[in-house]
Symmetry: C5
Subunit: 153 residues, 5 copies
């Protein structure tokens, strides 16, 4: 299994580094890492990793600023990520941290780390152990925060 990792120089946290650290827990998962300037550069890099480097899945790690135009770029990233998936029939797991999710830098770091590590596990399991995700369907899983849990009947 080979996983692609794309992060940005715009991010204020070494998101790719955290992802690679988490990957050490998985035997036999190879990775290839690429860094681009910002989130709008992510979709094509993810597609290149799938088509030119034969990755089975890609983890994209983006950081979104607080400005109005950053929200617009986030729409473009989201549509682009999905188009890249539809053109390749491979999953691209998008991990985005929005700078306005927390006031405090320490808290932002905590959110990013939690979100990245959980999504690394999601990405690996989507290839190796998709049944784990089926078992967790509807369980109110959250990345970046504590799971909220299911609504109980």
């Amino acid at each position: 299994m080979k996983i692609g990792i794309v992060d940005t120089t715009f991010s204020r946290i070494d998101m790719g580094g955290i992802a690679i650290d988490e990957l050490k827990n998985y035997a036999g998962v190879r990775y290839i890492r690429r860094t681009v300037p910002g989130i709008k550069d992510i979709p094509v890099e993810a597609k290149k990793l799938i088509e030119e480097e034969r990755c089975d899945i890609v983890l994209t790690l983006g950081w979104v600023g607080k400005a109005e135009k950053d929200a617009l770029s986030y729409i473009a990233l989201s549509v682009g990520k999905i188009m890249a998936e539809l053109m390749t029939n491979k999953h691209i797991i998008d991990v985005t941290v929005h700078e306005d999710e927390a006031e405090d830098e320490r808290k932002l770091l905590e959110i990013a780390e939690n979100r990245i590590r959980k999504h690394v596990r999601n990405a690996v399991d989507m290839i190796r152990n998709p049944e784990r995700l089926v078992r967790e369907a509807g369980k109110g899983k959250r990345q970046g925060f504590e799971d909220i849990g299911p609504i109980l009947r």
Copy 2:
């Protein structure tokens, strides 16, 4: 007839489970279920079920949070679902529950269950009995709530 079902671990309700329960009312409809992390991962999984698993139609079951960025993800999901349909010439029936549709968790569960069961019937009939939908054209059908009914002349 084979139907694909895609739900998420983000959802707070086991949406895929409800869909499968409803499917028991239909003889000879096989299904294949997949679970992905969140709504932006849905379109490519639906396309894979059509192209790699030969599903005739796919039911996608999403849960949208209350935040602004969740609304942006919903646009991306909607455009992606339609692109996946246009690339395959197959229908993907999108069942989305928006967390702000009800204040009360019990009510949310009720909306989700009603919407999923009705759309399972829509999906099966779109393949087996499309004339039923033609007969109900303009009848103000609603999923998740009571039908509102047609405007009478």
Copy 3:
């Protein structure tokens, strides 16, 4: 000439029925009608009518609710309709009624009927008599309401 008609069970008016009634005024225009649940299901059905049923043009008849998420679905429908056209090089004439166009149900019915009948004529003429549209270029034509007319020099 063969025209496709797609409407929805969500609509509160039998939009397809009105379109078919109007089509009786045109000799030799065959039609094929399909009904889908809601507006996001329209684009692929229109594409299928063009590619699988050899329609020359398709009339899509949608009904948009008042909620915020209905506006988001309308964007997805609009982008999807255009993508379906670009993939087939055929026109898809989109007739949408927005529930907030009138307070009164009777008025809404009037808008829908007027808009559908005028666009049926547009669709037929785009295939049979495109010169009529050229003659009406810039004339401030409106569907659903009275024409507003051109700005006079």
Copy 4:
């Protein structure tokens, strides 16, 4: 050189007529004109002119109303125009007049005429004399209004 012109019956000004009048100033430029109902019908007509009528470039002439849903249609038009260009590798120069650009009808006419004539020149030069555009790079050119001019160092 052959230029395509697409306008609408929705427009309150004969935009195609103005474009054709301006084209008389250019020897040897042939044109083909098509009229569609509204702006969402423009992208596929532009693509058809390129692919079926072998136009080198297309000028699309749209009129956008004041309502919220008109803004949504404008996004769809804009994305569709760009997709049509990407699918054909030809330019489609979009000339849109927004009804809220001026209160006064006479002023609106003035804006439309100025914008159309300038963009006809742009379209012709993009094929015949692209160096003129390079010379005007960063010069704060405006269509519909006076040029605003460059920021001087």
Copy 5:
């Protein structure tokens, strides 16, 4: 290595000229420059430079006005840029200056110059020295302003 440069006549700054000046610092990088009217004309020109002129990467230089419709055009540009990348598997580095980023013309010029020069370096390094970007991953790099820097643990 060959880089494409696309700028606009709408811009109030000779953005292409600044990019070419910066390129002089790089031996052996050839360039080809094109100018289009406005930002919605950029994506297809970038794609043409990649496909018809064999550029390895393209730098697009846009200027966005203050009006609401300019924001809508920016979404269209962003989605179009990403689609052009996905269709070619090449990067298009988008350098956009938003007129509302500064009140003062001198400040706007400073932002534009800083942003263009830094992104020229990014574009060259993405082809020649991608390891530089990996080393700067998560470093809070900004173009147009001072780098904000990483969040320290």
